[in-house]
Symmetry: C2
Subunit: 316 residues, 2 copies
DNA sequence: TTGTATGCGTTATCAA
DNA sequence: TTGATAACGCATACAA
């Protein structure tokens, strides 16, 4: 069926081990035979068999990304960036949207070289049988794991935006976020906001977006605004929540100063001025990839926690 | 490193070929030895090596999905559905967000069993070297390809909604869609709308959403509405465009009758009544999977075009 | 510089 | 019922 090294060897009148070397540009083969063999290989549409390669070399040059929640827009940017960084490092990225355990198990069967997990909480912990067999890195929330985890200092992000608001003498502010949840990340945002406002005697209130999507926020705000108004300073708990706010306020948005979590590139192309606070998507992607590649190549996997410090990006 | 059949064989005092059979529940092995071996395998955390399996059996039990545009929300539902159908058929789905050619080539190297391509136009055609080596099915637009393609009868969808509008005696209507594009799907919608309106003497106009995203639509409509109003009947060219309309009109939406392309489940959970026209996501997913699995198992791949007929779903 | 031989983990065929 | 063995496609150590 498919063309093998043997076929090329026959066509060139050499042995298949010579072909193997030639295709890898080994210095052990003459330049001219290498040339001739590569020519023929292309001509015959040779496609290397990764299964065979992987069997002997124990390397597949591909890493698996576990992404059970495909529908979150903010995350898709991160996925793209990770793909770019991996490609530059010579790895192929294979995404699974299965649940964490199913996907990880299959990745092990496929003998992938490493795994990146989007950690959404307790349900997404990898059993140690898996993490002890393959380098793993997670992106998500603060927890003690047997493999490294990268996350964002959400507390510091909140403080950054509040400090900036105070420097602009804006003392009447609100936070829009998902208030009734057991997602530890959302809880940290809410609690930091409240504590910091109290400490600095700021006039504040909190509005429940009743979910994490732009949709949820849109409808929550629409109902809230029937008998309330929004203060001058607004802090939104995520990119999607900010989208919901933008859709709701439309033209009157310029009467507010808005800060949003998630430093995604989308903010640069928006009509309205939104300041953002968070770790740039590229930075997160780069960190994840570096940790994983390091673990793969050094054969070590330290269960460290990497806290990425957020930056405040002011616009216009 | 990893546990192999040999390790289990040693631990059980049998040969590794017996282990191989036992793990596959072969009738050639006694029930009791099978039991003992399977017990031991689990105890030792045996994970089969897919590379080795694939090498001898020429089957990897995984199919690749090529999805270069990760950020389209409407599509992510389809991706989930495809994953579900594949899982039921015993296949694992691996997604690549690389460009079509890179991804397909890697899938071939990995000896996956089949490929699903989201065909976004000319740039996403697979070279015949690839499609002749592995079963392929595409979802997308009308084109002559060397592999089967599944698509939606967009013309019929438009006619369905226009007919329904006329039956409700609504003769003042507009179409909101991406008007300046060479995407053949958008052109079909636009042209069908215009021709059918003329034929039936309907009062109509067309509004350019200037893109396919909810964002684009939102801003296009905002500017349009400064010196125009919308007629009673509205047809939107896609789910995302409808979202843009919803965000723009907010409360005044109930003064209109809205039809939207894309029969996605999201419409069922919306606050506002939107009728939708299109092929249900499940139906599309099922069709794609069936065609592909058939091609894989019959070793045949007919370059047919599958036109899926849309349905009109009226709500509330 | 090129060719030969071995082994990677598995399945499947055959012999015991 | 179980075990030995060849083969899958490739990389590599070693022999020529």
């Amino acid at each position: 069926m498919a063309v093998t090294l043997k076929d090329i060897a026959n066509a060139c009148g050499v042995s298949y081990s010579t072909v193997s070397k030639a295709l890898k540009n080994s210095p052990l083969v003459t330049a001219e035979t290498t040339e001739r063999i590569q020519q023929k290989a292309k001509e015959m549409n040779y496609i290397p068999n990764n299964s065979a390669r992987s069997l002997v070399s124990n390397k597949s040059q591909t890493i698996g990304l576990i992404w059970p929640s495909v529908d979150r827009v903010a995350v898709s940017t991160l996925v793209s960036e990770i793909n770019n960084f991996l490609k530059n490092t010579g790895y192929f990225m294979s995404v699974s949207i299965d649940d964490v355990e199913t996907a990880a198990h299959k990745f092990l069967e496929l003998r992938f070289d490493g795994i990146i997990v989007f950690d959404e909480g307790e349900a997404s912990t990898l059993p140690s049988i898996i993490s002890s067999n393959i380098p793993v890195v997670a992106y998500g929330t603060d927890r003690e794991l047997e493999y490294p985890i990268v996350n964002v200092n959400h507390k510091q992000a909140m403080i950054l935006s509040l400090d900036d608001l105070m420097q602009n003498n804006i003392t009447n502010i609100c936070y829009i976020g998902d208030l009734n949840t057991d997602d530890i990340r959302q809880i940290i945002k809410k609690e930091t906001f409240e504590r910091y406002c109290k400490e600095h005697n700021l006039e504040y209130n909190m509005i429940d977006s009743k979910g994490l999507s732009a949709e949820d926020t849109f409808f929550a705000l629409k109902s809230y605004l029937t008998n309330h108004t929004l203060p001058e300073g607004i802090i939104c708990g995520s990119y999607d929540i900010t989208l919901g706010l933008v859709h709701t306020l439309k033209d009157s948005l310029d009467q507010h100063i808005v800060y949003s979590y998630d430093n995604v590139p989308q903010f640069d192309h928006m009509d309205t001025v939104i300041h953002s606070v968070g770790v740039p998507t590229k930075k997160i992607a780069e960190t994840l990839v570096n940790i994983l590649i390091n673990a793969i190549e050094s054969k070590e996997n330290h269960p460290d926690v990497y806290h990425l410090e957020p930056e405040l990006v002011k616009r216009k």
